[in-house]
């Protein structure tokens, strides 16, 4: 252990540091998850609380964690697997899955990012949250420390919501906060000036920064806790303990200026759930799906992302898998909105075997910061819109929902392009008095028309056929008297002068003479004569 490993603790002590112990250290909220491996296993099995059978986690033949039921029967961490099985009949031994624990801790860190600007993974079972800005959580003129107390309460509540029990401590410095979370009593945040007193009762083993041989030397001198260390004359520490004297001095004062190393998630969330027994009906499946959706949504929310595509994988019993891709109309990190779509998909599902487990993966996500509502916005309507769009997008596919944007193109079929529908309300306010009293209108007439100049004066058809229909012109002397369309002969009642549309010589040139024609049986049509071959085509209707 040397200065390069402990840069913060070995930093040369500045005069201002001496003046204010622990004052310069960052405020840190530490969360310690006792028996994290066990908690993770229980959470994945979906059985909170006591397991029906005693459970222990073993690593290299030794018990590293065990549940209360196993403890009651004499199993202790450190026992060999054989000893543990001998002590407790029916003990379930699970191998330690360090990678799984790490992934679970990363998932927790992601979710906690919604509470703090930076979260650090600390060892196999602890997280450190940057609490420097916790004061902003408290209302103006609130008592000192209220914001920190709020942050502490919210973090523990969020962890509990995600299925983990933790001990929390909010203090100055990473090391002291972690030591207080792991070995202290937790509770209210510790003020910077009270750090020395709060740490005094902690054993030196709470600080992994102190090497083992030094701890043994200190123990030999009768120094077992931080309080005893603090009572040593500071000027003798360097003489007695050399390079580590600075470390010990800072520890006794509760100082640790080292910054938090932020965790940056690299992958999109994937949450899985093992069902206790294979299920055949939709309700228990939805219950499990809601749990994984909550967890995945919390992780996305921490990263200010919204999912646009999800995939649910259902593991069938005894073998097989069914995957359900889900497209969301709008980016969302709200599990409730995902569930609207997922519920429909699950209810419409026909499976050949019961489901033994499931996983929900966010396949695609985009930045989706929280939207600020403005005065007059109706969030319930926005929510209703989002739910409707998500349901439609999930069933019809992305391309089926769109809006249109006009383009400056002469080719009629290219005069607009589809775009994603946002539904954003903008523009016109209702003009004062724009609405008339509907009761004042006539209730006697049955026939109206010609209805409106606007309807009659449209220069483009309201319907454009995706594929123009060929027409055969019938007439004499250049005058079109009738057209034959799909085997029907229809009389032409009127035929307007042409409107020439041509262009795009650089790619796909076209040259068309468009006519408005009233055709018996077809109504008012939009017909063009192709300049290339002189043939007539029915392209749309002024419907």
């Amino acid at each position: 252990m040397g200065p390069e490993l402990l840069p913060g603790l070995f930093r040369e002590e500045a005069p201002e540091h001496r003046a204010g112990p622990a004052a310069r250290a960052p405020r840190v909220l530490a969360l310690h998850f006792p028996d994290f491996s066990l908690q993770r296993v229980r959470r994945a099995r979906g059985a909170p609380g006591r397991e029906p059978a005693p459970l222990a986690v073993v690593d290299e033949g030794r018990v590293v964690a065990c549940d209360p039921l196993a403890r009651e029967q004499g199993v202790c961490p450190g026992d060999s697997a054989v000893q543990a099985e001998a002590a407790c009949a029916g003990l379930a031994l699970l191998p330690l899955d360090a990678a799984g624990d790490r992934a679970a801790l990363e998932a927790l860190a992601e979710a906690l990012l919604q509470l703090a600007p930076a979260v650090e993974l600390c060892g196999p079972d602890a997280l450190l949250l940057d609490a420097s800005a916790a004061g902003l959580l408290a209302p103006p003129r609130a008592a000192a420390g209220e914001g920190e107390a709020l942050l502490l309460a919210r973090a523990t509540a969020l962890a509990a919501e995600l299925g983990y029990r933790c001990r929390a401590a909010l203090a100055s410095g990473r090391g002291p906060a972690r030591a207080l979370a792991r070995h202290g009593r937790g509770g209210a945040p510790v003020a910077p000036e009270a750090m020395g007193a709060a740490l005094a009762s902690l054993p030196l083993t709470a600080f992994p920064e102190i090497p083992g041989d030094l701890q043994a030397r200190l123990a030999g001198l009768g120094i077992a806790d931080v309080g005893s260390l603090g009572r040593l004359p500071p000027e003798t520490l360097a003489h007695r303990f050399g390079l580590f004297a600075g470390v010990l001095l800072r520890l006794s004062r509760g100082e640790d200026p080292s910054p938090i190393v932020p965790y940056q998630p690299e992958r999109l969330p994937r949450e899985s759930f093992e069902l206790e027994a294979p299920v055949e009906s939709a309700e228990p499946l939805l219950f499990a799906l809601k749990r994984v959706a909550d967890r995945a949504a919390a992780r996305l929310a921490g990263r200010s992302l919204g999912a646009t595509r999800l995939e649910v994988a259902l593991r069938l019993d005894p073998r097989g898998e069914r995957r359900l891709p889900v497209a969301l109309a709008r980016p969302s990190a709200a599990a409730g909105r995902w569930m609207v779509v997922l519920r429909e998909q699950i209810f419409a599902l026909r499976l050949e075997a019961p489901v033994a487990g499931l996983a929900l993966e966010v396949v695609e996500a985009v930045p989706a910061p929280q939207e600020q509502l403005s005065l007059g916005d109706r969030p319930e309507e926005l929510r209703a819109l989002e739910v409707a769009l998500s349901r439609l997008a999930a069933r019809l596919g992305d391309g089926a929902l769109c809006t249109a944007e006009p383009l400056e193109r002469h080719r009629p079929e290219a005069a607009y392009r589809t775009a994603a529908f946002s539904g954003r309300r903008r523009g016109a306010l209702p003009a004062a008095g724009a609405r008339e009293n509907p009761r004042r209108r006539s209730r006697t007439a049955d026939v109206a028309g010609p209805a409106s100049p606007a309807l009659a004066e449209l220069c483009r058809p309201t319907r454009l056929l995706p594929t123009p229909l060929p027409l055969v012109a019938l007439g004499e002397g250049g005058r079109i008297a009738a057209v034959r369309c799909q085997g029907r002969t229809c009389r032409v009642l009127s035929f307007s002068p042409p409107e020439r549309l041509a262009g795009e010589w650089w790619s796909e040139p076209f040259d068309r003479d468009y006519h408005r024609a009233v055709v018996e049986g077809l109504g008012e049509c939009w017909i063009y004569r192709d300049g290339a071959d002189g043939r007539l085509w029915l392209h749309g209707f002024f419907d």
Partner: protein, 248 residues
Amino acid sequence: MPLHRPAAGPAASPAGSPAAPPGGSGGPAGSRERIEELRERIRHIERRPPRRTAFEASGIEAVDGLLPGGGFPRGALSEIQGEPGSGKTALCLSTMARSMRSDGLAAFVDGRGELYPPAAAALGVDLARFLLVRPPASITAQGIATVLWSAEVLLGSGAFEVVALDLPLLRAVRPEGRAAVPPEVMVRRLVAAAEKGGAVGLWLSAREGEGAGGLRLPAAVRLEVRREPEGPRIRRIFARGAEVGHGA
């Protein structure tokens, strides 16, 4: 000034008595009008749309004159019949454009895939607030069911002022299989969704009874649009609350 104060009756606050609000027009009716006006002004300041009325005008005076409430009823389906090229789509788009004046959203379920958005824009439809739904429709029972389901979702959501539905011809299509939903049920669901969401549902059909696979649609209003040399001519076939119309 409390906006929710109950309007005082003539006995409690006679016109001209000291209890009457200063500057009022002198009677309970005047006070109510004043309060309504103030409420409307507050909504205007808050950029909120005016409260929904029971009817949505089409914006075409001659057509609104045919309808009992001065427009298409909310929370119900209305059917607009007409041959291709008659002008029924333009009437539908005009109603949508009118509804967007109050900052609302409109949706068009384009079962045929033929709607031409530039024409909608020309009729005053704000394309940014116009949802075009083009299901991958095919003239099969399953395809039709998908189109109807889309309209049901939109009508029931409560997020849209007007939802229009344009379906391919259904006459020959009947659902098959045990799980298939008969058209009668689909149509009833649509009506229920419109009632729930409070939207104006507009069903475009080529001719009478064609809309729902040969079923007669339980529409609150049924109009027929016909192309005549001088322009589209609209006839009221039926409107709830009005006398049955006679021929054009």
